[in-house]
Every structure is written in structure tokens, then in C-alpha cells.
């Protein structure tokens, strides 16, 4: 045994059964299967095709429904029908395909049909590129189709977190009878990372609204049309009350190194990972930087961000876009501190060095002047809103350091078979700068 001595093989024995290497698209698909997905409908598009392919192989094996539709329009409307009939349904696509699904998303929001939709985002607008992007933030959180509605949007930053968020997406969809989105990007779809084979199957709640045939009960109608404005307004008020309830109960986010942070990067998904590396480099050069990572993009963690903004010098929003989430950040911050932005578009990904540079720019802008008195009180945050069920992870505290809200706040390097210290030099002790 060279290099790593006895420990590596022991860890190996322990790790082998728990973690497997999975491609993001495939891990999301398998997580959906394990979450009890009854039916999947899709249409090929890069960079999510492996999700469709995984379902094509696995769903029939399990006696469940897989159908490649004639278009994204077909896929999402098949999902609408299957969900209306009480099935747990997954649909996936990438940006241009999601645009085609916008109509049905609006219908399903109005009809209150629970479907989980995965968007593995790619560069736009138009046919754009097939490289990763976060250019669909507006589309996801501000509505896809027409009308007054929101849908929960979950944004994983790693494949293992995506695996955790898939069952949560089904839960939210069914608990609130709403379409729910999982917003990933080309990197998360195409990359492979270790995934713990520890999936979760949400409980089935009785669907006393689902269409099963009007046998022994009055007929049920699932619809969004209401030509009487009074009636439609009433329906809208009910929907809005539901959206407020979701906003109150389902906010999720994660923080890293916020305790002493003067500057904080706000980023989600892949951008948050770039930020993490940038923070490491920035801290090495003396900048005190932390990370605030929304996991739910809607509902957006605006109160938490507002509290944070009252005690830091400035925020830097990093996105794979021209600046979309930054608008929600500015709305939440309400001018309490400067908000800078760095983004790349069209399939380009910001590099950690670019982000460090942007941090330096922000530092120069906010200077050394003392932090003015917070516009809102309480730098010590009141208890954060928690998810509805205790089986779920509580919202992350400020000082949490994990990627996922399901990870411990301070992961210990030796925990769970992960993280032996990495060899910092080559076998001959001369790699990595020894020249």
C-alpha cells in the first residue's frame, strides 16, 4: 500500500457501500424513482438527455410509466393529465424546452396540479448554447406562463443535494397542490459526484381531488377557467393565500462563514460552488468573506438576507446570467448595504479568480468606513422559519458551512467516511510548487 497507509483501505471498505458515483441527470432520475415517481414524460434535449434515458430504462423495469412525448408540449401535458389522475409525476427538460412548457405550468398552477419539473438550464436566449447557465431564474421564479402565480423553485448546488431536493419537491408539490421546479444547470446535469444511496420516499397523501371516475361520488372537475371575474378573483385569492403560506413555511437557504464576514457572496447552484472556491482564495488574501446560498429561489429567503445585510459591508451576487437573482437580493436588502454583481452568460461560468476580483472591487467601494447602524434591528436573528415537518432539515443557521441543508452545520473532516486529508504534495514531495 503506497501513499496513504492503512487508513485508506479501511475508509474504502466503509465507503464502498454507501456512496456511488452518479451523473447528476441520472441521480435526479433515480432520486425521483426512489421518491415513488409513478410516471415520467420527457423529450430529448441537451444537457438533460441522460435523465430521460435513465427513466427509459428504469421505469419499465419497475412497471412504471415512461413515455417519450412528441414535444415538450406533449410531455408537460401528459404530466398534467397523469397528475390530475392522481399520479406522482416527473417531467424534465432544458431551457428552450421549459419555455414550451410555460403554458401548461400556468394551467397547472391555476388548476393546482402537482407535478415536479426539472430544468437543467443551458445558455440562452433562443436556441442558445448547451453549456450551463442560470439565465432562466426569472422564468422560474417570476412565472413561466401567464397569470398571477408562483411555484416553489429548488436550486441544488451539488448532485447529492439534488438527490435530497427531489423528494422534497414532490412533497411540496403534493402538500400545496402546485407544480414545483428543480432548477439545475448543465454542470449539475453532466457532472458526476458521489451520491449516498440513501433516498427518501415521501408519504402519499390522500388525493381527494384526483380524477378516478365519478363512481359513488359527485364528479370532480380540475380546471382553471372561470369566466365570472368575481369567482376567478376568489380563486386567485385562495391561490395567493397558498403562496403566502408557502413563503412563510418553506424558505430554505444555507450559509457559510458568515460569522465574521464583512462581505458576503449571494449565489445559488453552480455559482455558489464557484463562490466557495473564490471565498477560500479571498480569505487566504485577507478578505473576510462569507456565502449566503438560497436553496429555495421561490420563496426567496428575503428576511434572512435583510437581516444579514444590516450587519455586513456589502453583498456580491454571482450568477451564470446577466443578473437576475440580484434584483431579488436588492429588493430584500432595500439599500441597507451595497449590492454588487458579477455574472457570465451564454454558457460561460465565472471563474473563482473573477469572483475574487469582484470582491476586491466591492471592498474598495465599501472601503473601511464603519458599518452604519442597521436599518432594521437585531443582528442576532430571530428563529428562522422552519419547514413544516420535523423530519425535514431545519433551515440552516447563519454559521452553517455545509453545501446542503441536510448536512451537518460543521462537517467534521473524518465524518462519514469522507475527507481524508489530501496529499498536498506528490509522492516525491515535490509536486505543487516544489521546483
Amino acid at each position: 500500500m503506497q501513499g496513504n497507509g492503512h487508513g485508506a483501505s479501511e475508509r474504502r471498505a466503509g465507503a464502498r457501500h454507501h456512496r456511488v458515483l452518479m451523473k447528476g441527470n441520472e441521480a435526479i432520475a433515480e432520486a425521483a424513482i426512489q421518491a415513488g415517481c409513478d410516471a415520467y414524460f420527457g423529450y430529448p434535449i441537451t444537457p438533460q438527455a441522460e435523465l430521460l434515458e435513465w427513466m427509459a430504462r428504469r421505469m419499465p423495469e419497475l412497471g412504471r410509466v415512461f413515455l417519450q412525448a412528441e414535444s415538450e408540449l406533449g410531455a408537460i401535458n401528459m404530466a398534467l393529465g397523469a397528475a390530475a389522475a392522481g399520479a406522482r409525476v416527473l417531467v424534465s427538460s432544458s431551457s428552450p424546452g421549459i419555455s414550451l412548457m410555460a403554458e401548461a405550468m400556468s394551467y397547472m398552477a391555476g388548476q393546482q396540479t402537482p407535478v415536479v419539473l426539472v430544468n437543467v438550464m443551458r445558455g440562452g436566449p433562443g436556441l442558445g448554447s448547451i453549456q450551463p447557465s442560470q439565465g432562466d431564474y426569472f422564468q422560474a421564479v417570476k412565472g413561466h406562463g401567464h397569470g398571477d402565480y408562483k411555484v416553489p423553485v429548488l436550486a441544488p448546488a451539488s448532485i447529492s443535494e439534488a438527490v435530497d431536493l427531489v423528494p422534497l419537491a414532490f412533497e411540496l408539490a403534493e402538500r400545496y397542490r402546485t407544480p414545483t421546479m428543480l432548477l439545475a444547470d448543465g454542470i449539475l446535469g453532466q457532472a458526476m459526484e458521489p451520491v449516498e444511496l440513501r433516498f427518501r420516499t415521501p408519504e402519499r397523501r390522500p388525493a381527494d381531488w384526483a380524477l378516478t371516475g365519478a363512481a359513488g361520488r359527485p364528479p370532480r372537475v380540475i380546471r382553471s377557467l372561470d369566466l365570472q371575474p368575481e369567482d376567478l378573483e376568489r380563486h386567485n385569492l385562495e391561490l395567493q393565500a397558498k403562496f403566502r403560506e408557502i413563503a412563510r413555511r418553506e424558505v430554505r437557504w444555507s450559509g457559510q462563514q458568515l460569522g465574521d464576514a464583512e462581505l458576503v457572496i449571494v449565489a445559488y447552484g453552480t455559482a455558489a460552488r464557484v463562490a466557495r472556491t473564490a471565498i477560500r482564495r479571498a480569505r487566504a488574501s485577507g478578505l473576510r468573506v462569507g456565502l449566503f446560498r438560497p436553496i429555495t429561489l421561490w420563496p426567496f429567503p428575503e428576511r434572512e438576507l435583510a437581516r444579514l445585510s444590516a450587519r455586513v459591508r456589502g453583498l456580491l451576487v454571482v450568477e451564470l446570467s446577466a443578473g437576475q437573482m440580484v434584483e431579488d437580493v436588492r429588493l430584500a436588502v432595500e439599500g441597507r448595504c451595497p449590492v454588487a454583481f458579477h455574472g457570465r452568460m451564454g454558457g460561460m461560468v465565472p471563474t473563482p479568480d473573477e469572483v475574487v476580483e469582484a470582491l476586491r472591487g466591492l471592498q474598495a467601494r465599501v472601503g473601511r468606513r464603519p458599518r452604519r447602524a442597521p436599518a432594521i434591528p437585531a443582528p442576532e436573528p430571530p428563529p428562522l422559519p422552519r419547514p413544516a415537518r420535523s423530519s425535514e432539515q431545519p433551515a440552516a443557521p447563519f454559521e452553517g458551512d455545509g453545501w446542503s441543508r441536510l448536512e451537518p452545520a460543521e462537517p467534521t473532516p473524518t465524518a462519514a467516511g469522507a475527507g481524508r486529508p489530501l496529499a498536498t504534495a506528490g509522492r516525491h514531495g515535490r509536486n505543487g510548487g516544489a521546483r
Binding site: 500500500m1 503506497q2 501513499g3 496513504n4 485508506a8 483501505s9 475508509r11 474504502r12 466503509g14 465507503a15 464502498r16 456512496r19 456511488v20 458515483l21 441537451t46 444537457p47 448547451i130 453549456q131 451539488s158 448543465g186 454542470i187 453532466q190 457532472a191 458526476m192 459526484e193 458521489p194 453552480t270 460552488r273 464557484v274 463562490a275 466557495r276 472556491t277 473564490a278 477560500r280 461560468v349 465565472p350 471563474t351 473563482p352 479568480d353 455545509g402 453545501w403 462537517p411 473532516p413 467516511g417 469522507a418 475527507g419 481524508r420 486529508p421 489530501l422 496529499a423 498536498t424 506528490g426 509522492r427 516525491h428 515535490r430 509536486n431 505543487g432 510548487g433 516544489a434 521546483r435
Partner: protein, 184 residues
Amino acid sequence: MERSVVFAGFGGQGLLFAGQVLARAGLEDGLEVFWIPSYGPEMRGGTASCTVIVGDEPIGSPVVDRADAVVAMNLPSLEKWGPRVAPGGLLIVNASLVDETARRLDVDELRLACTELAAEAGDDKLVTVVALGALVGRTGWVDDEAVRIALRDIVGRKRPAALAADLAAFELGLAAGAREPVPA
């Protein structure tokens, strides 16, 4: 601590495969790993690459702006990735196809006749497995036994007849990586 390597070359040189073996070995070793291919039409020919990051904590940026190591299996890859090796990093060049050098004094450039070594192992197509061996031999980022386990797992399951040559190619690369003197 994170370490990143880019495998780059022609489609068909087994770049994605070598990256997967490294990632799988890192997993065997209980490390955090991240593997991402260049994806899209190019995967069906032309240039291809994949990036592997191994680390002892959750992997941060999936985009490597400075690679700790680059495996350049053809000239375009050397031209593209040579300048992006981090100072002090490792550059493995497939000398069977590439005569040029990176012309960098601040990296450890290891030139390997991958085709010849692969042929010696029994299959001259296993060029990137040779390079993977050299990478592991040179850096020790993952345990070499973990790589053997990964090869047995991945190759042994899908095409067991090829396993012996893969293991042999890896051993030749491993030895070469450990043996070649590191320039001062």
C-alpha cells in the same frame, strides 16, 4: 484541499473513461470527487476533455481556471490547456503524438510515449490509462490500489477481457510517473 486535473485530447482516446476511473478511485479512497466532461456534439468526435477534482471537503468550483494537472493527449489540447496549468503543477504530454512542449519553466512537464507504453501493455489504444497511471504515480492524489479497484469495477464489469491490458497500462504509467525525474 482540492486538486484538479484536466484530461484533454481526441475523442476516442479514452479521456472521459480515464477521468471516470480517477473519480471512482477517489471515491474508493473516501474522498470528495467531481467529474465533468466537455459535453455536446464534440463528444462524437474531434476534441474532448473532462475535468476531475478530488478533495477532502465538498468540491467548490466546477470550473477549473488553474488546473493542478493537465493530461494533454494531442497538440490542440496542449495549446489550449498548457497555459492553464497552475504554477508548480503537473503537465503530462503524450509524446507519441506531440513533439512540442508547453515552454513553461514553472510546471513539471512529464513527456510520455503513451502509445508505445500502451502497446507494451497489450493494447495501443489505452493511451490515457497510461497517462492516468503517470498522474497517480506522480501525485499520489489517490491511492494506486484504489485505481486498480476502480479499473476492476468499471472494466471488469463491462469488458472483462480487456481488464488485464488496462491494469498493465496503468502499471506502466504508474511506474513511469514515479520513475521519471522531476526537473529541479
